[in-house]
Symmetry: C2
């Protein structure tokens, strides 16, 4: 994209309405604009990040056999009356009445709808397990929306639902999802640590929150630093094998991790002191086994091995996709601006033309840009070098390719890595391979 | 995807609630399920089609320099009061009151919001033209939703908006969009003919509807059959050149095309009789120049060449993405089911195993399937051959790869083209190249 022609408005000043870093930087880097309280439009660069995150989330859901579908944003109140949650949900549910005076609501979550659809389609225990997910806009009418998309009202979420024949199979599904989540967050370039969460009346260890470590997090966290060194992408797990899943899960849960609410000093004392990490975290995901709560209350069964009705065991698994954009920024920025992990960056690199109109500079920039215009931002504006450098740092592109008249004469450009600050000079022909872009 | 494990429920019987072919076939082929009146969940195969269509639409928008963003589904009533449309819109607008008694609405379209965002970002005429688009769920509270997603309430739409410095530049934007639309529909594998539409008080020839030809269409259409033979994908147009755009547009409009409402017998008489085509059409797109209607009413200006405020000329450009799924089916089906154009098909091919459990059949099927599991559906169910053939025709995969025990012994499979019905036998190794799938 050519910056001179693009809808990527950067702001020099900190917007008064933004209280936290990610909100400030998302506004300043031109990722979002608020359209109503807690409701945002995603400008082109912001949408690219949102989509990059969603696609990584999808890939890891697909890898464990979850099937993507898409449920609508508006739901009938009838469904929620069947589960008993319509009255229980409270004022965060946005209730709507249509022209025929029928009660609708903007879905804050989808347990009821997916359970109903499951019941229409799946008839026999032989068709289990089924794991269904969608990535869809949801609405929660927060009483005080704030912190930008961190606590917005209309938000983008991946929610998955598993249906299993019995408790043991449900545990397998839960563990597969745990693996998918660990791999997802690692690919997103953030440290998200699973912490045991409250399971309510069901009990067991089958609820985990995933918290991204960031000083502005809403919860205090305590965890074993060895967790951060694990490489889940190369973890050998046979997801079709119960033993293999159990082994993986035992290893994962062997590392202490808890939020301040669930912190256990006795367990903590067993963590070697040099590995004890304390900090704060932002919740970006939550996985949860809840058994037959919805299948029983909504009377959704399949025929079991003996022909009698069998009520499947369910779990639900959320990732806050729009919230992750903010959480990643909270975890990855400096005084100058955002530092995007490569996997989610809106552009792999910015090409900075230090002297627009200089034939050699223009030629080199155009040549580099033409190699992968969809992955590169070309700063072709007639602005001073200082403005271009500041905007590049603010927007957080992983690489900056700096093309100035002196180097251009010799066919040399400078390449800066945003995260490390490292700079190197190289021939034009070496740039694309160096930054990992193009053919 | 393995059909035995998938959430792709086919129905043998015609559902009673479906009155038109596309609605019947979408339910029977397991693409959608209704969740409330006029509101649908997209099951995995349906979502694939929806996404394939949206991605082709996006690619052609991007190709003319339009920038994708994403506006929220809910809008503030304030914006619509500024344009004067809040009271004018009528009961199709779904009006919502939040917990703080603020009036929101579920966006039926986005002229107001995009104009407001444009005004926040673009300050000078030098930054024009700008073309912004998004693909987002919208809601129109139809008094009688029917025909499935053809006339649903929650629907998926691409809407683009152009901002230009003056009328001539706006005409250029309109013509670029016309080209993008012709290319889009051609890539989607449907014949969508642009017809001059009513422009209201503004006049001119700057409003076209695009109608997909289908016997069940809502409008009668009259057009020059020569139109259907044009190849817009190889049309040489320099979209940065006004003359080139004008030449293209003159050629395109030289072919007579009108809905019954705008039909002109005098012009029709000039079309050579052998080229006169009459039929019916389903509206799937609408492009529209409306000048300064919103920029003036909302007082959104940029600074002009003389420093004085300049109110940009606008156009808006819609494509009904979810409606297109139904329209394509109306235009492309037979007694047995859907006939998907390759570009939008949920799967490139189905692999039909005629004898599950036969070692050779299973081996060949698994081997073919492993080459591109994301593009292939493997019918590994323990069903009779007749059921598998019927479902394959119903679901409309462009190719059927039929693996039976007799051929398997000799390493031979049968390949059927769904559209032509043509069948041929070939060695297993030749199949993927024949159907254009895999490495």
């Amino acid at each position: 994209m050519r910056l001179s022609r693009s809808f990527l408005p950067t702001l020099k000043e900190n917007p008064a309405e933004a209280q936290i870093t990610s909100h400030r930087l998302m506004l300043r880097a031109g990722l979002i604009r608020q359209t109503s309280a807690g409701i945002y439009a995603w400008l082109p660069a912001g949408l690219k990040v949102l989509r990059n995150i969603a696609n990584i989330v999808r890939a890891e859901q697909d890898a464990i056999g979850a099937q993507e579908m898409l449920m609508p944003t508006l739901q009938s109140s009838e469904l929620w009356k069947r589960s008993g949650r319509y009255d229980a949900y409270g004022p965060e549910m946005l209730r709507i009445r249509d022209r025929h005076e029928r009660d609708l609501l903007y879905g804050p979550t989808n347990e009821e709808m997916v359970t109903d659809l499951f019941g229409q389609v799946v008839k026999s225990y032989r068709e289990l397990p089924q794991v269904l997910y969608h990535v869809q806009w949801k609405f929660r009418d927060e009483v005080r929306p704030r912190f930008g998309v961190m606590r917005g009202r209309e938000f983008y979420m991946k929610d998955a639902y598993s249906f299993d024949v019995d408790y043991d199979a449900a545990v397998d599904s839960y563990r597969r999802m745990m693996l998918a989540y660990l791999r997802t967050f690692q690919r997103l370039g953030v440290k998200a640590i699973p912490m045991v969460a409250d399971t309510g009346p069901i009990g067991g260890e089958l609820s985990h929150e995933f918290l991204v470590l960031a000083p502005t997090g809403e919860s205090g966290v305590f965890f074993d630093g060895a967790f951060e060194e694990q490489d889940w992408l190369s973890e050998a797990v046979d997801i079709s094998d119960r033993e293999s899943l159990a082994k993986f899960f035992a290893r994962m849960t062997s590392f202490y991790a808890a939020t301040d609410e669930k912190h256990d000093e006795a367990q903590w004392a067993k963590v070697p002191p040099e590995r004890r990490r304390e900090g704060r975290g932002i919740e970006v995901g939550h996985i949860f086994h809840f058994g037959r709560k919805y299948t029983e209350s909504m009377d959704i069964s399949v025929s079991g091995p003996d022909g009698a009705p069998l009520y499947p065991e369910m779990g639900s698994y959320g990732i806050g996709v729009s919230r992750l954009v903010a959480a990643i920024i909270e975890a990855s920025h400096d005084e100058q601006g955002i530092i995007w992990p490569q996997s989610v960056a809106p552009f792999a690199a910015v090409i900075i033309n230090l002297k627009n109109g200089d034939a050699q500079c223009d030629e080199i920039c155009e040549r580099l840009y033409a190699a992968a215009p969809e992955h590169l931002l070309y700063d072709d504006r007639g602005e001073r070098a200082g403005v271009k450098f500041a905007d590049a740092d603010l927007m957080g592109h992983p690489w900056q390719v700096i093309v100035g008249p002196r180097g251009a004469k010799a066919g040399i450009v400078e390449v800066k890595n945003r995260a490390s600050g490292e700079r190197s000079e190289m021939p034009v022909d070496a740039v694309l391979a160096h930054i990992g872009v193009g053919a």
